[in-house]
């Protein structure tokens, strides 16, 4: 699903965020991307929606090259990658329903189909009854659920989450993590960049650890350990 071939990212200010990274993540995997702040996690994840383009190397997402991709094809890549941000990135002037529906409207689905799917997904993330609320009326955990609903409503083969529980309390984090686990069980690939030591240790999934832009550990059913 995701393939990195000798990927290096050097920013204009000289910072090297990723150094010669090569890694492959198969369809249906659940992978934690761990590492200290500045280790290159965000660069890694944001490259998957081509918000950041590598300086060298090649990235394939679902068999498609990010490097050779034309600008007008980027939206279609992004529809295949459900991206979840630490700060949710919801549209503040839209209700919960409208925020989730938006991901389907851009694909051109009929209003009837949209209603059906959105209602189902909102139920799945446990937000039934909040359809007409606006993001500011919700708690952090609830907003993150909306973001997840929006990311999965389109049935993308890949879910990428950048610190999805970074702003949440442990209990809420656990709830959110359960949702991700269910999504993964239906066959969706999940890649999650996180600092959440407890969660990583509890879930026992594949762990890729970055340090100063390099992969220093790639372990099946790994833990967080002292990811520096």
């Amino acid at each position: 699903m995701i393939q990195f071939f000798n990927v290096t990212k050097k920013y204009e200010n000289g910072n090297i965020a990723l150094k010669d990274v090569s890694v492959a993540i198969k369809k249906g995997e659940f992978v934690f991307l761990v590492g200290a702040s500045g280790a290159g996690k965000s660069t890694f994840t944001h490259m998957l929606i081509r918000e950041i383009v590598p300086s060298q190397g090649q990235i394939l997402v679902d068999g498609q090259s990010i490097i050779r991709m034309k600008n007008r094809h980027v939206p279609f890549l992004r529809r295949k990658v459900g991206f979840i941000f630490q700060d949710y990135q919801l549209l503040q002037d839209r209700t919960v329903f409208e925020n989730v529906a938006f991901a389907l409207e851009i694909v051109g689905l009929s209003p009837q189909d949209i209603r059906k799917k959105v209602t189902m997904v909102i139920d799945l993330v446990g937000l039934t009854g909040h359809e007409k609320s606006y993001p500011e009326q919700l708690s952090g955990g609830e907003q993150q659920r909306v973001a997840i609903a929006r990311a999965i409503v389109n049935n993308p083969p890949l879910i990428v989450a950048d610190e999805p529980t970074g702003n949440l309390d442990p209990e809420t984090s656990l709830e959110i993590m359960k949702i991700f686990n269910s999504i993964n069980k239906w066959g969706t690939t999940v890649l999650m960049a996180t600092h959440d030591k407890e969660m990583v240790n509890r879930m026992r999934k594949r762990v890729i650890q970055l340090s100063f832009g390099e992969i220093i550990r790639d372990e099946e059913k790994g833990g967080y350990y002292n990811a520096q």
Binding site: E51, R78, Q89, L91, F102, R150
Partner: protein, 295 residues
């Protein structure tokens, strides 16, 4: 699929215009104010030109024929005068008609015929009009070369004043219009840019979710179009009624200003204003939105 998009655009266009009604209202007002000022400037400059044109029509050259020239020769002069560059029209006033006109001016209190002892000291006279004030001098020079002409009288100072006034009126008018237009354009562009900027986050999120550029731009384009239309319509209505009231006031109270209603020009101005408003609104929001699309 296309009809699904269309349904969504129409629904969203109105929905989000309504939700952002504060900003939208501010944009409409800004646009209306800017276009009203532009429109009034255009109307004023146009009226100024009307006055100038009227003044230009007033300039006449009086050419007096020598007394020893026969009537036939005097009348023949007309053919030569008509050939002069810048000639527009002429009127021959014979000495007999001249004295009658003079008598009219004096009224019945004095009998000119009696006072002058039956003599008519007036010469035959041509009243000539030039196509424009700057041709007056040319005609005067030509007339000066004619032996049969004794004396030429024209308001040299008036002509000079009109010429410089026309120059100033036309140039100042152009300057004013372009200045006001530029300021209006600037103001509108800034307003639109701010409006779009206030939704830059929204555009960014839309991009991350996988919206295509045209999907994002289209609603903004429609919104800009509607705002442009509303703003310019408001301006057009204000200018229309403002023009009527001002003209009525001027014509009734300052009768020496030679102004006439010129509805055709007014309609052209208003049509141009509305087209301009819609164009600026739509194109402005298009370019402003494009800036935020590079994510």
């Amino acid at each position: 699929m296309l009809s699904n998009y269309l349904k969504i655009f129409i629904r969203d266009g109105f929905k989000f215009l309504w939700r952002n009604k504060g900003v939208a209202f501010a944009s409409v007002v800004t646009l209306a104010v800017a276009l009203t000022i532009t429109g009034f400037t255009m109307v004023f400059v146009n009226s100024g030109n009307q006055i100038v044109n009227h003044l230009q029509e007033q300039v006449e050259i009086n050419a007096y024929v020598k007394n020893d020239v026969t009537r036939v020769d005097a009348l023949n002069l007309a053919k030569e005068i008509e050939k002069m560059p810048g000639f527009e029209s002429l009127e021959f006033v014979s000495k007999e008609k001249g004295i009658l006109l003079l008598q009219e001016r004096f009224g019945t209190e004095m009998d000119l015929n009696e006072t002058l002892g039956g003599d008519n000291p007036l010469p035959d006279q041509y009243i000539i009009k030039a196509t424009s004030p700057d041709m007056v001098e040319v005609i005067v020079t030509e007339l000066g070369r004619m032996e049969e002409i004794d004396n030429i009288v024209y308001g040299k100072e008036i002509v000079d004043n009109i010429l410089s006034f026309t120059f100033w009126a036309k140039n100042l008018g152009m300057f004013l219009i372009s200045g006001v237009m530029l300021a209006a354009l600037f103001l509108i562009m800034i307003t639109i840019r701010l409006t779009v900027y206030s939704r830059a986050h929204e555009i960014r999120v839309m991009k991350f979710i996988g919206a295509t550029n045209w999907y994002i731009i289209f609603p903004f384009f429609i919104e800009g179009l509607i705002i442009g239309l509303l703003g310019s319509l408001v301006a057009a209505v204000i200018i229309f009624f403002g023009y009527q009231n001002l003209m009525e006031y001027v014509i009734l109270n300052i009768s020496f200003i030679p102004l006439e209603y010129d509805y055709q020009k007014l309609y052209y101005t208003l049509a141009g204003l509305i087209a301009g408003g819609v164009f600026i609104g739509a194109i402005g929001s298009l370019t402003a939105t494009r800036k935020h699309l590079k994510v």
